[in-house]
Amino acid sequence: MARISGRYILKRSVYAVITILAVSCINFAIPRIMPGNPILYFANPHIITSSAALEALKERFGLDKSVWVQFVLYFTNLLSWPPNFGVSYLFYPTPVFTVILQSLPWTLFLVGVSTLITALIGILVGIWTGSKPGSKADTFVISLSMILWTMPFFWLGIILLWIFGLWAHLFPIAGAATRGFSADNPLTLVDLPDILWHAFLPMMTLIIAAYAGYSLIMRNTMVNELSQDYILMARAKGLKEWTVLFRHAARNAMLPMITLIGLNLGYVVSGALLVEIVFSYPGIGYLTYRAVLAHDFPLLQGLFFILSITVVAANYVADLAYAFFDPRIKF
């Protein structure tokens, strides 16, 4: 394992911060450049009908001030703790940030565990098929991956839900846990089996569909690594095949895999959103769905921001992990 140079960390950190800033600006700009009356994005027109009230709200949200003032206000709100995204319509009067914070852990759980399992499967299958390219097993896996890649995540989810949830009654069809949690009655380790039971189908869907995105590239990476000279050397040294594959080939193939995970993260998160909707899993995706239906713009804006930050953060971690594992990186 290599020591990561301080300069590299700095460079990556700066990049991450700039991206977050850009996302913030986009978030600021979108409602203001979209067609229509901007106030409607901050106040629910179904509840507030009098024009006087609308004017008052306009003043309250600072929409009557100049764009620059609004910009400053926006960032001040953002940078305070807790970040002020406004108040959600759907969960009035709970602040948006609080609402999101309750759902975020579930999504992180779903995506995190799925990604790890998918990566693991990707490596193992990649090793298996990469060491015998062109074989029947290889062709089968490639064809399967192609079909899975064209399958919409949510459709797969519906089918699994139907078969294993409704028809076979093996798994629950909604929710993250059987009982509700609150501050007085928090989540404990005892709840773990129940949580896993609920998470099984959504995770399975996510893993199957996400695997399709990884498998081809992982297989190609393995084929590539296995054709390298150092593999020949490893075999020439009399190492067992198992050692050659894992200690040498897989270790090297892991590097592009880390990059791949980072690049694919947006795609996997998007998939998770859809899966949550199908399984009514109380994460960010399901929240987004409800926000869309309710035209809860403050919530939507907050969700977009948090989600983007999460992906940027994950990429940042992936970059650092890559540098940690690849001794050739120096900056």
Binding site: P31, I147, F154, N220, S270, L274, L303
Partner: protein
């Protein structure tokens, strides 16, 4: 995404012959084209081929009828014929897919070529912008844009294009960069060829195969994307497409046991998607034999 090494500058005649070889020899291409042509013909000939109209009022059948003699794929919650919905839906889904692919590839290619060719400041600027869009998770971005723009077909097309062009730009840019390195570009420049001429006469023809392969792949992405947006309710739900079918099916099908209503659109998406993937893979194979599995 696929990239190739344009190591050989082929005369256009030999390229035409290799494309023809693609059709006749490659089984994958044949299957792919078969699927796509079948669906395209069905879509175009929808009024002739389809027995009922999916918008028929009153609906031809009773709701939730399983597949049978009169309704080959059963009926939906209103009693409309699912098969007719599939055929008419093909029009919308495939059209949206193709339009998005064209727009996205077009725009992405222009950005990519400009960034790759002019380099330095232009490259930096364009790529920073691209990267920012690239790193954002696509669905949330689409959702938030579509939420503001209102649900409609145009929104779907716009939003899908916005989230897919960056990848095209990246791929095209890296290919342009590697082509730029080759001596033939320098010799053209020394001979006094203008930038425009170099780009259009020299670079684009050589980029053509990856652009084509990626564009075809993009159609699949767009079709799946359109379905996803419809599913959430951000598309135009009054129009019948495979995505909107799933939107309605999600709410009504499961508890009424109408599995055919859920299965049919999904299978079509997978088939058509597969068709385009196969074509894309064959294009790529034909131009880069090195990637063929041993």
């Amino acid at each position: 995404m696929q990239t190739i090494e344009a190591s050989k500058l082929e005369a256009s005649s030999s390229r035409h012959s290799s494309i023809l070889q693609l059709f006749t020899q490659h089984k994958r291409a044949q299957v792919g084209f078969g699927i796509i042509i079948t669906f395209t013909l069905l879509a175009i000939a929808a009024p002739i081929v389809s027995r009922y109209s999916p918008y028929a009022f009153p609906a031809p059948g009773r709701p939730y009828m399983p597949p049978g003699k009169d309704f080959l794929l059963g009926t939906d919650y209103l009693g409309e014929d699912v098969l007719s919905e599939i055929i008419y839906g093909a029009r919308v889904s495939m059209l949206v897919g193709i339009i998005v692919a064209i727009l996205s590839t077009g725009f992405g290619t222009i950005i990519g070529v400009l960034a790759g060719y002019y380099g330095k400041a232009v490259d930096e600027g364009l790529m920073r912008a691209t990267d920012i869009v690239l790193i954002l998770p696509p669905l949330p971005l689409m959702i938030i844009l579509a939420a503001y723009l209102g649900p409609s077909l145009e929104t779907v097309i716009f939003v899908l294009t916005v989230t897919t062009w960056p990848l095209v730009a990246r791929v095209v840019r890296s290919q342009t960069l590697s082509l730029k390195e080759r001596p033939f570009t320098d010799s053209e420049r020394v001979a006094g060829a203008s930038d425009f001429r170099i780009i259009t006469k020299l670079l684009l023809p050589n980029l053509a195969s990856i652009i084509a392969a990626n564009a075809v792949l993009m159609v699949t992405t767009a079709i799946v994307g359109e379905a996803s947006l419809d599913f959430i309710g951000l598309g135009d739900i009054t129009v019948v497409s495979w995505g909107t079918m799933l939107y309605w099916a999600q709410s009504y099908a499961i508890f009424n046991g109408a599995w055919w209503w859920v299965l049919a659109p999904g299978v079509c998406i997978v088939l058509v998607g597969l068709g385009f993937v196969l074509i894309s893979v064959s294009i790529e194979d034909a131009f880069n034999p090195r990637l063929r599995s041993l």
